[in-house]
Amino acid sequence: MLKISADRLNDLFNRIASEQTLYIPVDREPNTAEYRKYEDGMKLSESLNTVRSAKDFFFPQTENLAEFKVEGKNIEIKDIREESGDFVVFGVRACDARSFSILDKVFLSEPVDSFYKNRREHGTIITMACTRPSETCFCTAFGIDPTAPEGDVAVFADGENYFFLDRTEKGKKFIESVADMLEDGDTSKLEEVKEKTREIMKKLPLAGLGTDSFGGDKLNELFNSPKWAELSESCLGCGTCTFVCPTCQCYDIRDFNTGNGIRRFRCWDSCMYSDFTKMAHGNPRLSQLERFRQRFMHKLVYFPANNDGEFGCVGCGRCLSRCPVSLNIVKVMKTLEVKE
């Protein structure tokens, strides 16, 4: 497999950044990583994952859609979309990489979301295999192998080198474009690293988390479970879980008065909010219980019902570490699961 030694990684970053925009995870504070546009000398974060997920690259928190200007009886509608340039996201973990295929099912099925599609086509995803999973990780529950992430190119670190494996046509082209900086490497140590990580995954506290009690065919029993009342009791109704979640995809479309016209934009929405899906007749979910239930039913029942059984969660653990009151999908699953 082609590789680059760890001390030359920044040389590679400089090279990529000279050709297209490169984003890498950088530590803002210890253990608080965020993706930043690469500038010479930036250090790749050693944190397991970023606070905000990588979905931001394809589905940003706010995005302008159109502008309207009314003059007399005429309305001028301006398409203000910006064509995305080519960009590379480096260091995406296996969980976030899977989230893209979940988002694709939503945004790339008919009617195709052209804003999302545009960015998806211009982006190259370089993933990075995990070597130090955290106690909050449970990607394996959703069939994700953190030692073999998806993406256009997968990168594997053995401590001394970074190895590059192409996974798509786009990835193959990317590797060809930087091939002169890479050399053939011996992957024997890499296999040991992977094996060690797989062993750690088996020992993680959430390793035994099962999904058998969930799925598209469990609608009535889960929806009607009396346990939602207790589960949702402490929920603050904030949107932290939905906004750090790599698969939460709901958005609202709003108009903003710019002072000399109207700008229509979309922004992330949260099913936890009291005005979520508010319509002319009012709000279909009046209580926090109903709103809380919606989020988990969507991930564990509605999404698999409409997407060949695929769950809408990738086990990244962000909701576990960020919820102000430590409510999360694992607690919900463990409370609702039917024990044999």
């Binding site: 253990n31 928190q61 020992k203 904030c238 949107g239 932290t240 906004f243 102000p324 430590s326 607690k331």
Partner: protein, 323 residues
């Protein structure tokens, strides 16, 4: 402490003094504790926890809980009793429906500060003479307790309980804290430096509303920012002005009512030091109207709801604005 609390809660349930208990429920790990209501001795014995990680302020939950059938027992740390009193003063908590047991406060631990040391795969955290022994899937780690103390505890203002029906453990004193040091530092900056500081911090905001929703001073039934009829509702900042507007309006709205419990900064997923905005207001109120601590009592008139002939004049705004 935890044992004594469970024992007393079970007694009060059994003798009918209360029919519910507001406390903290243990989670999957050592640190992921959720505020919860317990109704039976079995539930309490199984899941009730009070330890170095039970940081969450339970007072705000009592707005809802004190309106339910029967009386609820609530365990409140000293800082939580200030929030409780303030909510009683604002007629948000129905005092007679709550039985308060004051318990000693922190310093509590913030798991993020442990993780910031690169410690991951955490299985347990033991406090051995103020050295933390942390078992992880990668081996045992140690660090000083003091380095993992929660931000909301490091500027502790008081160990005194200002509201309780009974105490478990001793009551303490109001402390001389250094909590205004950072505010003073910000005041000494030039306006451009201060603007850059806040722009840097507030631009990290993802508008999750965790700060607002956890805040015991934010108990509006329908926040203007959630109300489409208000004309200023926002789900996300449409421009850089709106980004700051939410936090500044919120700070103004809780001015004189914020007890400085620190929950806003504790829950921020982006680690924005939101409490500094509120502390600036507290510091200003102290300087302009005399020392005042919101929540210290339930009867006094708050400086911003009161009038005295020697109150500062509005012109103080420009006088102080001059650099």
């Amino acid at each position: 402490m935890q044992e004594a609390m469970i024992k007393r809660a079970v007694q009060l349930l059994a003798d009918g003094t209360v029919n519910r208990v507001m406390g903290w429920k243990r989670g999957e790990f050592v640190y992921d504790i959720t505020p919860a209501v317990f109704t039976t001795a079995e539930e309490l014995e199984k899941d009730f926890v009070c330890d170095d990680f039970t940081q969450a302020n339970l007072s705000k939950y009592l707005v809802k809980e004190s309106r339910k059938e029967g009386k609820i027992l609530a365990f409140l740390k000293p800082c939580d009793t200030y929030s409780f009193n303030q909510l009683v003063k604002e007629h948000r908590i129905i005092r007679e429906n709550v039985y308060v047991i004051g318990i000693p406060g922190g310093p509590k631990l913030d798991i993020e500060k442990i993780k910031a040391k690169g410690i991951t795969g955490i299985l347990s955290v033991e406090n051995e003479n103020y050295t933390l022994k942390i078992e992880t899937i990668y081996g045992t780690e140690t660090m000083p307790f003091s380095e993992a103390v929660s931000g909301k505890c490091s500027g502790c203002k008081s160990k005194k309980h200002v509201a309780y029906d009974e105490l478990i453990g001793d009551d303490g004193e109001v402390l001389d804290s250094n909590r205004f040091d950072m505010v003073a530092k910000l005041e000494n900056m030039t306006s451009q430096e201060r603007f850059d500081f806040w722009r840097g911090e507030l631009s990290k905001c993802i508008r999750c509303n965790a700060c607002r929703n956890v805040c015991p001073a934010c108990t509006c039934e329908n926040c203007v920012f959630d109300n489409p009829k208000s004309g200023i509702d926002q789900k996300a900042a449409a421009d850089s002005f709106e980004e700051k507007m939410f936090h500044i309006i919120r700070a103004f709205h809780v001015a004189g009512r914020c007890t400085d419990c620190g929950e806003c900064s504790r829950v921020c997923p982006q680690n924005i030091p939101l409490h500094l905005l509120n502390r600036k207001f507290i510091k200003d109120i102290n300087e302009l109207y005399g020392e005042y601590q919101a929540g210290a009592d339930t009867t006094s008139r708050a400086p911003l709801n009161n009038y005295n002939a020697d109150d500062c004049e509005p012109s103080v705004v420009h006088e102080r604005g001059v650099e």
